[in-house]
Symmetry: C2
Subunit: 455 residues, 2 copies
């Protein structure tokens, strides 16, 4: 193996100067988010209570290239450009003619790709004179990323952490506090939303939906405070495109082109981040396939409906055009907490609907089987979310072996599993269930879809 490189590194001088905005190149215009009261497209003013204008502008901009502010690039330098790895050992173990590359985002201080947008969001909020950001977190990846970013820009950070995770994952909480954030178990008594839940059920374990409501209320009721979201929205996916831009340059530097780009898909920022720059080529006629991988326990793209739905459980957000399982859908407690969202990014949904993205769902058993195979050959222990992409890449590589095809696979290894070892423990001890969701439950949740125009 010594004649072929394992890691393809880029010097800081190759750090992208712009984010790639896929809105400029969409084959069809995007459907707008709708104000649920009026049924009309939301206006920038509707969002100004909780987002700074720079991000609202990015949400709708059709400029192809959006400059990355220098203070954001300075912080990116702490871990970017991230390495692109050739999975020599995994390939050999599979006996595949496929070439497997993985872009490793786990080198960020928070351990995932999430800081790519957290840093940008903290910057624009700071610039707008905001003093504090409020957000929610489930397993803690996003809360950690925003805590890090706020700290680096001198913003306060308030994180509403789902109560059951707050108690089960104290180390994620300690990490956020190490970066200076204040973390509250949600439901808390700090918001009307939280108090209402606690009144009905003082023992409520909380949910991401409740935590979102608390964070949004906190931001909406304090002039100096905004809200930050870690996925789904256009500007979030925009900031993540540094992943794909770097990966393209890294592949090109060794004379490679991706045939298949593979990423886990929850809200869509992981997938959009690596895949959008490759879809730009696809729109130009290049043959590149994009594969979104989701858990069978929350099969938004593969079994959901393409419709207008609320982004949150309480129905406070605009109506978003997306694949959804219905906002009342509560997925089983799989370990890939980042993939338990009932909906999906509007951009990813549209591109999937129009056939530019394919999707596949896996139960968590085969996902962890692939994660362990990966760890034993490549060393890195993947986050459960990232392991979904590993599973699909392994299956694609085995299909290449079957067909004798030497395709080039690129996967987004979006984070490490250092805070998820309990999931590995459960898998190794045979305590991990393959949680599938029954169709009738999905159908029932989909009956809740709001009144809105068909897509």
């Amino acid at each position: 193996m010594s004649d072929v490189r394992t890691k393809i590194l880029l010097d800081e001088s190759h750090l992208p100067t712009h984010w790639y905005n896929i809105l400029a190149d969409l084959p069809n215009p995007p459907k707008p988010p709708l104000n649920p009261r009026t049924g009309e497209p939301v206006s920038p003013d509707d969002l100004a209570a909780i987002f700074p204008m720079a991000l609202i502008e990015q949400e709708v901009s059709t400029e192809r290239w959006i400059p990355i502010p220098e203070p954001v690039r300075d912080i990116y330098r702490l871990w970017r450009p991230t390495p692109l790895y050739r999975a020599h050992r995994l390939e050999a173990a599979l006996g595949t003619p496929a070439r497997i590359y993985y872009k490793y985002e786990g080198v960020s201080p928070a351990g995932s790709h999430k800081p790519n947008t957290a840093v940008a969001q903290a910057f624009y909020n700071k610039q707008a004179g905001i003093r504090r950001l409020a957000t929610e977190t489930g397993a803690g990846q996003w809360g950690s990323a925003l805590s890090l970013a706020c700290n680096l820009f001198g913003l306060e950070c308030t994180v509403y952490m789902v109560k059951v995770s707050y108690h089960q994952k104290p180390y994620r909480r300690s990490m956020m506090e190490t970066w200076g954030a204040t973390v509250h178990a949600s439901p808390s008594d700090r918001t009307q939303a939280g108090r209402a839940v606690l009144k009905a059920d003082p023992e409520s374990p909380g949910s991401l939906g409740i935590a979102i409501s608390e964070a949004v209320e906190d931001a909406a009721t304090h002039d100096d405070t905004n809200y930050a979201l870690g996925s789904v929205l256009n500007h979030v996916l925009l900031h993540q495109t540094v992943i794909g831009l770097e990966a393209k340059e890294q592949l090109a530097s060794v004379g490679e082109k991706a045939d298949v780009v593979i990423a886990p898909c929850g809200g869509g920022s992981n997938l959009g981040g690596i895949a959008f720059p490759f879809l730009a080529d696809r729109f130009q006629g290049e043959e590149v396939q994009v594969l979104a991988v989701e858990p069978s326990a929350c099969p938004t793209l593969t079994r959901g409906q393409y419709a207008y739905d609320y982004g949150d459980v309480a129905g406070l957000t605009p109506l978003l055009p997306m694949y959804t399982l219905g906002r009342s859908f509560v997925p089983p407690g799989i370990h890939a907490g980042g993939l338990r969202y009932h909906g999906d990014s509007a951009l990813v949904s549209q591109l999937y609907h129009e056939g530019h993205i394919q999707a596949r769902a896996y139960p968590q058993g085969p996902v962890f089987e692939a994660a362990i195979l990966f760890a034993r050959h490549e060393g890195i222990v993947p986050a459960p979310e990232s392991a979904h992409a590993v599973r699909a890449a392994v299956d694609e590589a085995l299909a290449c072996k079957e067909r004798g095809e030497a395709r080039t696979l690129l996967l987004n290894l979006s984070g490490h599993g250092h805070f998820d070892m309990g999931a590995y423990d459960a898998y190794l001890a045979g305590r991990l269930e393959d949680l599938e969701y029954p169709q009738e439950a999905i159908d029932r949740a989909l009956e809740d879809l709001p009144q809105a125009p068909a897509i």
Copy 2:
């Protein structure tokens, strides 16, 4: 900041081809380890029951450069060369004219510098026809590293993990199992040593000393099994010199020379790894200062005695010429588990004794204060062991500010703290004690020194 690089990367083509052996350049010949029964220097045969001959030869070799086998370099490529960072943000926060660089070893899959030697040891054992390695681990850093290395070379790995850690740090255990190792809580019923302890105290929480005895006995009583040690021995420090060799090249590439090299010091592999290549220059007349940082709770260099002592608690090892607190010394339960060893590497001890290395001890409060300062400015959350070096670097930088001196500081950030967040939690909650060790307890432990020639 945008005009100055944050990370200095090296391409894989710059991966060192040789380890640096400081035995070739020592100003004075090293004292030999002694057979405690005969009082004579140990012979290679004394060690052959538990180590392969290639490592025994490296233990005593005086060749300056020892080639790194290609299969070892191939695995190093999974994370090496590691990045060298310039701590721009920390420098700005301190307002120091000093330039602070840190070599970050936490990018290895196991999260510390330990795999540098684990991979080499697994390779030589595999080559010698060994089927299985046995070792001990306390907090889990070394056990993780050896599990990873054995797995990559197709060796079985048996880890005796101190029982209290086995239960308190289940995630480190899961990580070892993810890499295919078998982990036993020590004392176990698998060895005479373990059974003896359990008979006397069925509830024994275990200790590193007991776990070492179990692992050595396991190796000595099975023909196909050897023992592996993660620090202290010459060959271990030899393998770690890739750290310092890379750092020197990285500094040179930006026109820098280190004035002070700073590392935590437990058994000595962290310090030896980064500092020995710089000491080679010192022996040639360069002015470079080397600073070993230890916890005041286990102040081996700063308050121990330079004498022949056993490396383990039970007195099974050869007598080693080293700074020691006495083998019966039981340090308080500080969070830097890797720095709780009663002795120190013979090489580090000799160089300290001869004035080539300086040493400083800190209580854990100031260490965690510096770790949090570091995390808030540089992002990375340091391992508690590495945080000792951070504390010393911060103090050196502040001294430079006081004196208006622009010195170049290099510190070994040997690992991340992702599995140590409980310690951060304790610090942030004000539950961390500054555990100092009373002099009379050290004096008492030193009364146990074995009969041996004075040094």
